[in-house]
């Protein structure tokens, strides 16, 4: 779908891109929100943009459906150049792009069913057809029994379900999610993310979401871009970015999810190293093929390094097994260094965790 003259460095012509953003710039007065952002979202994937507030991700998302008009650059959605559309054509194009909001943005004085019907009313769909479609949509998001409720009577999760049903009313191919779960508690967040994932697969949607939480990205995204100060500093498959972050900001996002910091009390209770030995607190990421290997016992056997496991968890990211262990390693500095070298050979990611107790020098 990408026309050759604007294909950028990341464009791969064998893939169908539903959204292509090229060198987008946007300034608000003297502050610049977007500094030449290029991005391709493949048809049928869930693409996450993660960043702190003020990173420009919200502006970027709004450029896709022209709620914000970029000062410069191109926006292609489904082969249409959004920047060049007339007002009428733009309205027609927006109808095919669903959008879900952090604060739901439901009309308080319309019932659930009437809220979902709004995009259909705007599109001029006849009333009978609207009713049938609304019933279908509410069943899809599991809210058929609340059709006549008012938004104020719903929980946050239910409100977002209505928001999702509304966004899908006009059968869009693309769903934009603007911090769709940021106003929800963790349990409801998981429910809504699962719903988005299910609907994406069921309806063959392409989803572009923005979030400030890396956990949202690891839960449902196929690919991720990390934004900072109006530029994309890193992007790729979620598993790759997650296991081998190259940029410090990305690493910070990653550590939010895997919990790199240990409580101070935990460290204080760890035994001190014996004289001549060292204690290093390590974080080991097990990814892909080695996630199931008995690395710890091999280290104990082969390097005479004692490993005390402090914390650990196993997870799946982008469908691949992924584990993280926080361990205290005791042994001579040389032995520990050898063990770490061996883990590096296995392609494991090993870091010293900041805040570890100072090592005890040999007397």
């Amino acid at each position: 779908m990408t026309s050759p003259q604007i294909a950028g460095p990341t464009a791969d012509l064998s893939t169908t891109y539903l959204v292509s953003l090229r060198r987008l710039h946007k300034r608000y007065g003297s502050a610049s929100a977007l500094n030449g952002v290029s991005l391709d979202v493949a048809a049928g994937e869930i693409f996450g943009i993660v960043g702190r507030s003020g990173a420009g991700k919200s502006t970027l998302l709004r450029c896709v459906n022209m709620l914000e008009r970029p000062d410069d650059g191109h926006v292609l959605v489904d082969g249409q150049s959004m920047t060049d559309l007339s007002e009428v054509a733009l309205r027609a194009a927006r109808l095919r792009i669903g959008m879900v909001f952090q604060h739901f943005n439901l009309l308080a004085r319309r019932s659930v069913a009437a809220n979902v019907a709004l995009p259909l009313e705007i599109a001029g769909v006849p009333a009978a057809e609207r009713r049938a479609r609304v019933a279908e949509l509410l069943a899809l998001v599991g809210l058929a029994h609340r059709a006549d409720a008012m938004p104020a009577q719903l929980s946050g999760g239910q409100k977002q379900r209505v928001g999702i049903a509304r966004a899908l009313a006009a059968r869009p191919r693309l769903l934009l999610c603007d911090e769709a779960t940021s106003a929800l508690d963790p349990e409801t967040t998981a429910e809504i993310l699962n719903l988005i994932r299910d609907l994406q697969q069921q309806l063959g949607l392409t989803v572009l979401l923005i979030t400030h939480e890396m956990s949202v990205v690891t839960a449902i995204c196929d690919r991720v871009a990390v934004m900072e100060a109006g530029v994309i500093i890193e992007q790729g498959r979620v598993f790759d970015v997650f296991t081998k972050p190259r940029h410090p900001t990305t690493a910070r996002f990653v550590s939010e999810v895997i919990g790199a910091d240990l409580p101070a009390g935990t460290l204080a209770r760890l035994p001190q190293p014996a004289t001549g030995e060292q204690r290093r607190i390590l974080r080991i990421l097990f990814a892909g093929a080695h996630a199931t290997r008995a690395v710890i016992s091999e280290i104990s056997r082969n390097f005479t390094v004692d490993i005390n496991i402090i914390a650990g968890r196993v997870d799946e990211i982008g469908g691949e097994p992924f584990g993280v262990l926080a361990v205290a390693a005791y042994g001579t500095p040389a032995r520990i260094a050898e063990a770490i070298g061996w883990m590096h050979e296995l392609n494991l990611v090993v870091d010293d965790i900041a805040g570890a107790a100072p090592e005890r020098e040999a007397a």
């Binding site: 709620l67 309205r91 109808l95 009309l107 004085r109 995009p119 705007i122």
Partner: protein
């Protein structure tokens, strides 16, 4: 008897005149004021159709009308009143300045009520491909309905008060009756009756308004 039959007839007559002035001026204010408020809101810098060329002169006009003390407005626009009402004396002549003042008044109240509508709702409608007219009719006005009704109530109550000044152009009405008979002819019974009647009317309008606001606030 508290009031003579003649006075009671006069009171009834005055009540009808007040109702006529408040009703007509109020109707004009709502019909003209709502589009005016929508224009003021949508053409402002953050509106959905920003236009300084429309917004600034309109805002200036509304503020100018609201700045002029009502009694001065009544006499200042006598030529205009004559052109519209065909006369510069009587109830209909009083309706013209009342309607103009009330329109400017309610336009700002409406604008404030419409501004209260969460910008996210407008953004959501835009994202759905709504036209500006659709945003106005499907989002702004329905969502602002309680505020709009409250604005109408406040305006009608103010109109009841303003209509007392209509005596200056022979508009009649309860307030005028109170001044001419109660005050100038020193008939306290008329004054008390007029004041009590006005209290009842204002209280009634306020209660009706609040009831309507509640009715549209929750379903």
């Amino acid at each position: 008897m508290w009031l003579t039959p003649t006075l009671r007839d006069l009171l009834w007559q005055a009540a009808l005149e007040t109702a006529e002035m408040v009703g007509l001026a109020g109707a004009v204010a709502v019909i003209v004021g709502l589009p005016l408020a929508l224009l003021l809101l949508t053409t402002s810098g953050q509106g959905i159709a920003p236009s300084g060329w429309i917004n600034r002169p309109l805002g200036l006009l509304v503020n100018a009308v609201r700045s002029v003390p009502f009694i001065i407005l009544v006499v200042a626009i006598v030529p205009m009143t004559r052109a519209i009402a065909g006369t510069s004396i009587g109830t209909m002549a009083a309706v013209v300045p009342l309607a103009i003042a009330a329109t400017a008044f309610i336009a700002r109240l409406f604008e404030t009520a419409l501004r209260e509508v969460d910008g996210g709702l407008v953004e959501a409608a835009q994202a759905m491909g709504a036209s500006r007219l659709q945003i106005v009719t499907k989002v702004l006005v329905p969502e602002a309905a309680p505020g709009l009704l409250a604005a109408i109530t406040v305006t009608l109550v103010s109109l009841v008060g303003y209509s007392a000044m209509a005596g200056a152009v022979g508009g009649g009405g309860l307030g005028d009756l109170g001044i001419r008979f109660g005050y100038q002819r020193f008939m306290p019974s008329v004054m008390v009756t007029v004041v009590v009647l006005l209290i009842v009317v204002v209280q009634g309008l306020q209660s009706l308004g609040e009831w309507l606001v509640r009715k549209v606030s929750y379903k």
